[in-house]
């Protein structure tokens, strides 16, 4: 049963990812990206990572994609042919990379399963993540908050119309 779900989600993710780059209308691309985000969230649910699934939908589908669509519509990008010139080169490089990955992975099957983490769903997914984030991973968490600060002020500096040069 879980295999069936995985195949469905993975298949849709691959198909919509290809559509994102293959479709020529940016709005359609964005919409296939949306479908992909939802299916990634579905994949998280099958892995019992409910919190991650919710974050995936709220942050990616809810915030980032809407922002993306806004930009597309504001700039009124209808069709952009410029980048399709590079398609043959990109396809070639992609093919090389793909064969490399396939060769590497098929060379030797996974003998041992990937190292797992201690079961985290005793106390509920969200609670555990919150606890770990504020205890074990406090330092990187605070660094991430600094990154957001830089992003915020940086966006203002670069995009504000008239910073009083005085």
């Amino acid at each position: 049963m879980s295999h069936l779900f995985f195949l469905y989600f993975a298949g849709v993710i691959v198909a919509t990812s290809i559509l994102v780059v293959a479709l020529r209308n940016p709005v359609y691309s964005a919409l296939s990206l949306l479908i992909m985000f939802f299916h990634v969230a579905g994949l998280y649910v099958t892995l019992h990572a409910e919190f991650l699934a919710a974050v995936q939908i709220i942050v990616y589908a809810g915030a980032i994609l809407v922002l993306y669509l806004f930009v597309v519509m504001l700039l009124n990008v209808k069709r952009d042919e410029r980048y399709h010139v590079q398609a043959p080169a990109a396809a070639f490089l992609g093919l090389v990379l793909l064969t490399e990955v396939v060769l590497l992975v098929s060379q030797r099957a996974y003998q041992t399963a990937p190292a797992g983490l201690p079961a985290a769903d005793q106390a509920g997914n969200t609670e555990t993540i919150g606890e770990v984030l504020y205890s074990t991973y406090l330092f990187p968490f605070e660094v991430a908050s600094l990154i957001l600060l830089v992003a915020m002020i940086g966006a203002i500096i670069l995009a504000k119309k008239n910073i009083d040069e005085c």
Partner: protein, 493 residues
């Protein structure tokens, strides 16, 4: 949740720099334009305090924040170097920003936040923390690159750097996530242990390794991940370029060596060949393409690529299969030595570039230096010293740096690599000495209406004096720096 005071004490330097940055950002709007320079002095004061704190941490080795942060002599060495570079960059910026009429105190705030990111990178014992430090550093640099908003080149540099930087971060993160999947941890110590128990030719491990090399290769601007460097270095304000070329490269090398030699040291048979290829390609391309550049900032960009290639020799030596622990520490300490020396000479060269004005604009073409020795003998002499040092000619510090690297290569049995590097060092002498030739051998052209002039100010004089002292002193008497690097390397097993 309780925070032990010891943890806070361990990251005191980071907290001080962060506090200073936030203070500058808060004070900026309420400071009149005429006094904005004072905010830069807050940053300099903070750096001085941090240097004291870090120097006192030099002998200790502690882990903090559930083993995510490590304070050891290795980290302290890089931190001290980064303080020095940041301090000199702030001094350089004082004069430069005034001339460019950019009264943005946020500039100093971002500089310091970028420094926090670099400090996190060099003292992190965990891949996730290293990644976040890298992001903090890069994001601040993207903004700094585009801070000269009136100029299209600057914005172009910022946009290019951002897009390519985000792309490479994604690759780095992919590598980290694969490694996490294999080993079950992002901590370097746990990865070391897990790598020991697993077979070396696990394909997924190999893939993760390749992705990490690509991600870090971008940050240190090694060929073939160097494409962004010339455009970004040319377009960014010169003071920012100096900071990127020196501090960002040093911090990336610091994190890179810790990840590969400490965390993935057990896999060195796998990554050694990869580094060898990258190293030779970087040496060749950096030096050859630099020859045809007419813009001095672009030339210095390619020269910084080439210097990353030289520094990689040390990493290759340290990762050589048959290297004894003595040769390994020689390789590592020579990388640290080289980057410290590189900082002095590159910062000095960029300071001279920032100094030269053509009317109200920057004099960036190599042609602008024609006959400089006649008009400005002091500036021409300084440039001469930095160029000679970059080319690695004795008795300057650049020679000492290259000497230790090549010695390591020879002793590790990689004589051919030393010969290749030496050949391309000879090639590099051509483009460095061309600047000298233009300055000393040619008469100023009479037809030029706008004569280049110099922007002289006390802070710039301090920067140039420091760089000159570094290049001269360590060229004649490198022992203190060598001893410091060798002391710092002991922490890495």
């Amino acid at each position: 949740m309780t925070l032990p005071a010891a943890d806070i004490l361990a990251i005191l330097p980071e907290l001080i720099v962060m506090g200073a940055a936030c203070l500058i950002l808060v004070l900026d709007p309420i400071t009149p334009v005429s006094r904005k320079e004072w905010l830069a002095w807050i940053g300099l004061g903070a750096l001085a305090v941090c240097a004291g704190v870090t120097a006192s941490q030099m002998g200790v080795r502690v882990m903090a924040f559930s083993d995510l942060v490590i304070i050891d002599p290795y980290a302290s060495f890089w931190k001290l170097l980064l303080y020095l570079v940041s301090g000199l960059t702030i001094l350089l910026s004082l004069a430069y920003l005034k001339e460019e009429a950019m009264h943005l105190a946020e500039y100093y705030g971002f500089l310091l936040l970028s420094l926090v990111g670099m400090m996190v990178m060099v003292s992190a014992a965990d891949l996730l923390t290293i990644y976040l430090g890298t992001e903090l550093m890069s994001l601040s640099l993207y903004v700094l690159a585009g801070i000269k908003r009136a100029e299209g080149r600057s914005l172009e540099a910022s946009a290019k750097y951002f897009v390519l930087g985000a792309f490479s971060s994604g690759i780095l993160l992919y590598g980290i996530s694969l490694l996490f999947g294999i080993t079950g941890s992002t901590r370097l110590s746990a990865i070391t242990a897990a790598v020991h128990t697993r077979s070396l030719d696990d394909p997924t491990l190999l893939l993760a390794l390749i992705l990490l090399v690509v991600g870090f290769g971008f940050k240190i601007a090694a060929v073939p991940f160097h494409m962004w460097t010339p455009d970004v270095y040319e377009g960014s304000p010169t003071s920012v370029t100096a900071f990127m070329a020196v501090a960002a490269k040093a911090a990336s090398f610091g994190a890179f060596m810790r990840v590969f030699l400490e965390g993935l040291g057990g896999l060195k048979a796998n990554w050694h060949g990869l580094f060898l290829i990258v190293c030779v390609a970087t040496l060749i391309l950096g030096n050859v393409v630099a020859i045809v550049q007419t813009n001095i900032k672009r030339m210095l960009a390619y020269s910084s690529i080439a210097h990353a290639g030289y520094a990689l020799i040390g990493v290759v030596v340290a990762g050589h299969a048959t290297a004894s622990s003595e040769i390994r520490s020689l390789g590592l300490s020579s990388v640290m030595l080289y980057l410290a020396i590189y900082s002095f000479m590159t910062l000095g060269a960029f300071a001279v570039v920032a100094l030269l004005r053509k009317g109200g604009l920057e004099g960036e073409e190599i042609e602008d230096y024609t006959g400089l020795a006649k008009r400005q003998p002091v500036a021409a002499f300084l440039m001469l010293v930095f160029m000679v040092s970059l080319a690695g000619i004795p008795p300057t510090a650049g020679f000492i740096g290259k000497f230790y690297l090549f010695m390591g290569a020879v002793r590790a049995g990689l004589t051919w690599l030393a010969v290749v590097a030496l050949l391309f060092a000879a090639v590099s002498a051509y483009y460095y000495l061309r600047v000298v030739m233009v300055m000393y051998m040619r008469e100023p052209e009479a037809s030029v209406t706008v004569l280049p002039r110099l922007l002289v100010s006390p802070p710039l004089a301090i920067v140039l004096a420091c760089a000159l002292a570094g290049v001269g002193f360590f060229g004649l008497y490198p022992d203190p720096l060598v001893a410091l690097a060798q002391h710092a390397i002991l922490a890495l097993k």
